[in-house]
């Protein structure tokens, strides 16, 4: 049973969905940011970034490293400024737990 649970956990999606609590924190940091906007940021992150490499978990890097990487990757993936900002808010929101 434990082995089955381990396999199921390992197979589950690893890119976290934003929670209402994270959305409330995001609103304090970036007024007007909604849970739906964070969900869109997650969808954009998956769609735009997985085309070039396997996705990195939001917890994999520090916020400073993510800021640098998003700058560098924007041109590479042809991401607009608005899309980059959505991805940035999603990643920084879900990594603070």
């Amino acid at each position: 049973m434990a082995a089955l649970a381990a396999v199921l956990c390992a197979c589950a999606g690893q890119i976290p969905s934003p929670t209402p609590l994270q959305a409330r924190r995001a609103t304090q940091q970036w007024p007007g940011t909604t849970l739906e906007a964070l969900r869109q940021g997650r969808a954009l992150y998956i769609a735009k970034c997985s085309g070039c490499h396997t996705l990195r978990l939001p917890s994999a890097y520090s916020p400073e490293r993510w800021e640098l990487m998003l700058e560098r990757m924007q041109q590479r993936s042809q991401i607009s400024d608005a899309e980059k900002e959505r991805i940035r808010r999603y990643i920084l929101s879900v990594k603070i737990e």
Binding site: A12, A47, S50, C52, L55
Partner: protein, 266 residues
């Protein structure tokens, strides 16, 4: 071959961007290019070691475009350069080279190997030559577990050959498996296993069933990537009808396959 590799590497080195990383060369992963992104991938496959002398270089140049975020298409130019024993003069080598037509690839991604429980994509490739037509379908599954990536492809490929007053169809069923470990986000190394099953007559069994295995290594920089695999044929699952005493099938397949793929984005 050396010129082709040098050209590919030098182009990659000056490339301003990067592209869809491939961590295997025989096994496909589910990733597709983001919409609007384009890349050029030079391929080189060397196949050698048959019952009589055989050495062939297969070249492919792939131009890949992301159409929408889940769908990409590619156009390939294919050609080869071979040296083999002359059947009419045993012991003598003859060479041949030529253009092997164009291929059109379509790949649709449904699920992601990290974001979803399992990565899943469907793949179609059509190859057109003056006297041949190939239709390859793949089911692509992959999954990333921590720093390890596993990918599996089930492949079905009917191929039609046309001659004056006749046509033949052969079937190739293939299983490809790749396992690799990311030692760093840029460098991965692992193993690829390829099983090829060929059927030349409808209603009959497979002519043979061969299995290849060997190491794969991949390095991806922000501006380029390069992946190479060396496969050796292992004792066949089903031996050749023509040479049942041999554990390797060397009348129709080779002892060694080596493939290297690079990427250039523009």
């Amino acid at each position: 071959m050396i010129l082709f590799l040098l050209a590919a590497l030098s182009l990659a080195a000056v490339s301003p961007g990067a592209a869809t990383e491939r961590r295997f060369t025989y096994t496909y992963e589910s990733g597709v290019l983001p919409a609007g992104v384009k890349e050029l991938e030079p391929w080189l496959t060397w196949r050698a070691g048959r019952t009589s002398y055989f050495s062939e270089f297969d070249y492919r140049l792939e131009y890949e475009v992301g159409l929408v975020d889940r769908l990409q298409t590619s156009l390939y130019l294919n050609w080869h350069q071979a040296t083999h024993e002359d059947p009419a003069n045993p012991g003598q080598k003859v060479g041949d080279q030529g253009f092997d037509g164009i291929s059109s690839e379509w790949k649709y991604k449904l699920w992601d190997p990290v974001a979803d429980a399992l990565g899943l994509a469907f793949y179609q490739e059509y190859t057109f030559q003056s006297d041949e037509f190939g239709w390859e379908s793949k089911l692509i599954l992959d999954k990333k577990f921590g720093d390890n990536l596993v990918a599996y492809n089930a492949v079905v490929e009917p191929e039609w050959e046309f001659g004056p007053g006749h046509s033949n169809i052969s079937w190739n069923l293939e299983n490809d498996l790749g396992l690799t470990h990311f030692f760093t986000p840029a460098f991965s190394a692992g193993l690829e296993v390829v099983n090829q099953n060929e059927k030349t007559h409808p209603g009959s069994g497979f002519t043979d069933s061969v299995i290849f295995a060997g190491p794969v290594a991949s390095y991806a920089h922000e501006n380029w990537w390069l992946t190479a695999t060396l496969l050796r044929q292992l004792p066949a699952l089903q031996r050749s009808v023509a040479n049942p005493q041999d554990s390797l099938v060397l009348d129709n397949h080779e002892k060694f396959n080596f493939r290297i793929i690079g990427s250039i984005r523009f």
